[in-house]
Symmetry: C2
């Protein structure tokens, strides 16, 4: 599939179509306690870029939608179900791959590493801090940077933050998500005030017991669990 082709052959070929996916999850640093953004990468087991780390992905199956293909690649690498999945961008520069013209439609996803999904690493699948994911294969460095930028943009406006968390969460946990994504400290009191008046969040009767300090109240996200309509943007 990667037989070296001269220029004429390359231009005659239809561009190959691939799906890649940037999968974000949060993990607490054991020492500082702060949350950080992590993502799984897959080691290249063939040329080109053999041995380098790359985004999960693969060719688009003939009988699946773009979104389905992204979700399938996510499951195959992490064993997790996405709580959020959205198209990021279609990358189609001429020089993305040396041997063949490849157009990659990239999705980005948020997962909740509740189960041992984040621990399910192998020789060829490993989780990295987003801040330390560099030197990746192809143009995947740029793609990850763009996905992070989009994540930051989306969290300010929209409702993606909740998709990092379980169905019940404290405002401190939610604030931790925002601080991890935005990369700066947020005032707890102002954050609370802002989200108490938010539409799609509701206080439950429960509090979280077992902590060292005053037990915090648990909240619930009441908005729609999926951000993207099933048949693409409507």
């Amino acid at each position: 599939m990667h037989s070296s082709a001269n220029v004429t052959e390359r231009q005659a070929q239809a561009p190959a179509l691939a799906i890649s996916i940037v999968i974000f999850a949060l993990r607490s640093d054991p020492s500082s306690g702060r949350q950080e953004i992590w993502l799984p990468l897959v080691r290249r087991v063939r040329q080109p870029h053999l041995g380098k780390w790359a985004l999960p992905g693969g060719p688009l199956g003939g009988s699946e939608s773009l979104q389905d293909a992204a979700a399938r690649n996510l499951r195959e690498t992490t064993d997790l179900e996405p709580t959020y999945l959205e198209q990021l961008y279609a990358f189609g520069g001429l020089d993305r791959a040396a041997t063949q013209r490849v157009v990659s439609i990239v999705y980005w996803a948020l997962v909740r590493p509740d189960q041992a999904g984040l621990a399910r690493e192998s020789e060829n699948v490993r989780w990295f801090r987003a801040s330390e994911a560099a030197g990746l294969a192809f143009d995947h460095d740029e793609i990850v940077a763009y996905a992070l930028q989009r994540l930051r943009g989306k969290i300010e406006y929209g409702s993606v933050a909740y998709h990092f968390l379980g169905d019940r969460f404290t405002l401190s946990q939610l604030r931790g998500v925002y601080e991890a994504v935005l990369g700066r400290h947020l005032d707890p009191a102002n954050f609370r005030r802002q989200f108490r008046s938010a539409k799609d969040i509701a206080a439950t009767e429960e509090v979280l017991q077992g902590g060292r300090n005053r037990p915090p109240r648990l909240y619930r996200y009441t908005g729609s669990p999926v951000a993207e309509p099933p048949s693409g943007p409507a």
Copy 2:
């Protein structure tokens, strides 16, 4: 990464890759004087959907980037240069075309119909009011609706409004753009106050003479003329 089928099988299944483009321009209604959003459509001259109106577009050339392909399709239908060009979305549902799986990477553009470009219509190219573009071929109705939604979202946050206008414009003209895109009346005084303090807009020494009323001052957009970095999102 994945056990690959042999080349012939894969190419038989491989979805076709196409570029489409939604081109927006503003035109004043002669009776009301208000501005409206227009876009050019192309009549289908072959099956499927023969005779229906559709978005400009075509197959992706083998030696052009996605952005270049979109710009080329724009020039071929309108003879205008885009002042703004950005990727909209990649549509890849299974049922988009009856006979063949087609993945369309759709761009959207803003043009300034300074020259006679908007008048350059033909049997198979015609401009339509965006509000009246319905019954289009394929899923192009949805694509136009989504592009309009994106335009509205972008105009509130960003700097796309200026790309509908020439290099010198009055605040009334700029307000006209906002009113056309957002579909509602805006208070002239408040609009003025907001944009006098905007960063990327500067007053010139000139005023626009020849109108019926008090001559308005001309302003200039000082931000970057292109929104998208040349090599895709950075």
